[in-house]
Subunit: 135 residues, 2 copies
């Protein structure tokens, strides 16, 4: 994703393209592969990459703003930290608990044949498959 598109992405979601948001968005979206991170890991990587430090609260604010805008998704992972994913399409995950690493699985690579009915007047919003790995 190009710089110009990042500005568009921010503006179109009603987010003023501030210096910090552009830097974070550039870091997150200017890459080929999908990217998984926690706020802590993102903060470390940004600190390493950028000359001027971005406040931790700003990273929290920005990640949440991006999530609300639909530019990031949150992944179910057991444990204390919240994981985010730059892949916002419907998909699944491998999880390697040895390395705490998430790997995307394309939605079409998992086919579910049988699924139970949603209970009492509820509907199914989405189905997430989480495959735990071992060595």
């Amino acid at each position: 994703m190009k710089k110009i598109d990042i500005l568009k992405k921010l503006r179109s979601s009603g987010l003023r393209p501030t210096k910090q948001r552009v830097e974070i968005a550039t870091f997150l979206f200017e890459r080929e592969k999908t990217f998984h991170f926690t706020v802590e890991s993102l903060n470390k990587l940004l600190t390493k990459k950028l000359a001027s430090k971005i406040a931790l609260a700003t990273i929290y604010n920005t990640v949440h703003a991006f999530k609300t805008a639909g530019h990031l998704s949150e992944v179910e992972v057991r444990g204390s930290k919240t994981y985010f994913d730059t892949n916002v399409s419907n998909h699944h995950h491998f999880y390697d608990s040895e390395t705490s690493e998430l790997i995307d699985i394309n939605a079409k690579d998992i086919i579910i044949q049988k699924i139970p009915k949603a209970p009492n007047g509820k509907k199914i919003k989405n189905v997430e498959v989480f495959i735990n790995l071992k060595n």
Copy 2:
């Protein structure tokens, strides 16, 4: 599950059947249906049920000891709190985010037809399906 079996369950996992552990185990395992809880909800329910209060730290200790012993499983749920489940067999979950309620799905009620190969020298430990509900 009967009182005698609860004592057995504790002893067989190397846990001394103290007053607190027996009370917590009785509360958790002496029921027909599987039970989902957080440490906070368990603490509230135990406080209501028991005459003498059990320290919060003891509830944390005990729940973790039961989990390590394989008597409880931990469920992936987005959010700040950790959910536990008295159902330790391989199974799946519905999750109603409106009510923060988990509902068990029997393993045989979900059939996965196609599944990707585990990456680079890794093996699949287990597959968890998480179905989010909406109204």
